[in-house]
C-alpha cells in the first residue's frame, strides 16, 4: 500500500522530468498516468492495489454520514416523544480489530453516532463496553455495529 503510493509519486516526478513541466498540472498528469501504469502492472504486486483501499475509505466515510443522519433522527424522535419509554443499557461488544488506530477509529465512529457511547476498553483490547440510550435487542445492536462499521474498517485495512 505505502510502497504503491510512493511508486505512484515517483512516477509522477519522472513524468515531470521527462516533460520538463514542473507545475502542479504536470504533476497531476504524471500521477494519473502512473496510476494507469500501476493498474496495468497489478499482477506483479504482492498486495492489493491501493485504489481499492481508497475506494473502501470513501465508502466508509459515506456510511458514517448516512448512519449519523439516521441515528440523529432517531434520537430526535426520542427527545420529542411525549412518553419516556426508552430502555438504556450497557453491553459488551467483542471486536476483531487488532491495530491501535483501527480500534480508536471504531470507537470514535460508535461515539459520534448518537445513541451509543463507548465508555471503556477492556485491558486486552478485545472488548468494547458501550452505553446505549434505547435498545430493544442487544444481540441485534451488536450485529448491526459489526456488520456496518467493523466490516467497513476491515475492508480498508485488508492487505
Amino acid at each position: 500500500m505505502a510502497f504503491q503510493i510512493l511508486l505512484n509519486f515517483t512516477l509522477a516526478f519522472i513524468w515531470m522530468f521527462l516533460s520538463s513541466n514542473f507545475t502542479a498540472s504536470g504533476f497531476l498528469i504524471g500521477f494519473l498516468l502512473g496510476m494507469l501504469a500501476i493498474i496495468m502492472m497489478r499482477r506483479f504486486f504482492k498486495q492489493r492495489i491501493y485504489l481499492v483501499r481508497v475506494w473502501a475509505l470513501i465508502k466508509l466515510t459515506l456510511l458514517f454520514i448516512k448512519e449519523l443522519i439516521m441515528a440523529n433522527v432517531q434520537v430526535l424522535k426520542l427527545a420529542l416523544s411525549p412518553k419516556l419509554n426508552m430502555q438504556p443499557a450497557f453491553f459488551a461488544l467483542p471486536i476483531e480489530l487488532k491495530e491501535e488506530w483501527e480500534i480508536t477509529l471504531l470507537s470514535s465512529l460508535i461515539t459520534l453516532t448518537p445513541g451509543t457511547i463507548v465508555v471503556h476498553i477492556s485491558d486486552d483490547a478485545k472488548t468494547l463496553y458501550i452505553h446505549a440510550i434505547d435498545i430493544d435487542d442487544v444481540d441485534e445492536a451488536i450485529d448491526d455495529i459489526k456488520n456496518s462499521f467493523e466490516k467497513a474498517i476491515m475492508e480498508v485495512t485488508k492487505s
Binding site: E100, H120, I121
Partner: protein, 140 residues
C-alpha cells in the same frame, strides 16, 4: 487499577503534531498578525502537557530529553544578546535592525532582529511552564 488508555494515547499522538505546528505558525505570525513568542510558547508547552496527560512524566522525559531549566537560561541569554548586540556597533541598547533578503523556497522576506528576541521569549515560556508542571507533578 490500571485502565486501558488506548484511545486517548493514540489521539494525543496525532493531535500533538497539529498543536505543535499551530504553535510554530502563531510564533512566526507575530509581527503582522496576532500571535508572537508568548502565545507560541504556551501552545508548544500545552502540546507537551497533552503528552504528559496521556502517558506519564517519565515516558515524556525519555521522548523529549530536554532539561527545561537550561532552556530558560538559553532563552534569557538569547534575549539579552539581541538587546546588547547594538551597543558594540555604537547604537543605543535594544536597537533593532531589519533588511530584505531573498531566501531559497520562500523568496523575498524581511528579516528582523526582533525575531531573535521573540525566540528567547518562546524558549523561556516553554521552560517556565514545563518546569512548573514537572515540579508539581513529581511531588510523590
Amino acid at each position: 487499577m490500571k485502565t486501558n488508555d488506548m484511545i486517548i494515547q493514540f489521539t494525543a499522538k496525532i493531535v500533538f503534531f497539529i498543536i505543535f505546528f499551530f504553535a510554530i505558525h502563531i510564533f512566526l505570525a507575530g509581527h503582522y498578525t496576532p500571535g508572537g513568542g508568548f502565545v507560541g510558547g504556551l501552545l508548544a508547552s500545552s502540546a507537551i502537557v497533552l503528552l504528559v496527560l496521556a502517558f506519564d512524566i517519565k515516558t515524556v522525559r525519555t521522548v523529549i530529553p530536554v532539561n527545561y531549566t537550561t532552556l530558560i537560561g538559553i532563552g534569557l541569554l538569547l534575549a539579552l544578546a539581541t538587546a546588547a548586540f547594538p551597543m558594540f556597533k555604537g547604537d543605543p541598547f535594544f536597537t533593532h535592525y531589519f533588511d530584505y533578503f531573498t531566501l531559497p523556497l520562500i523568496g523575498k522576506t524581511s528579516l528582523h532582529t526582533a525575531m531573535l528576541f521573540d525566540t528567547g521569549v518562546f524558549l523561556v515560556v516553554v521552560g517556565v511552564t514545563m518546569t512548573i508542571i514537572q515540579t508539581i507533578g513529581e511531588d510523590e
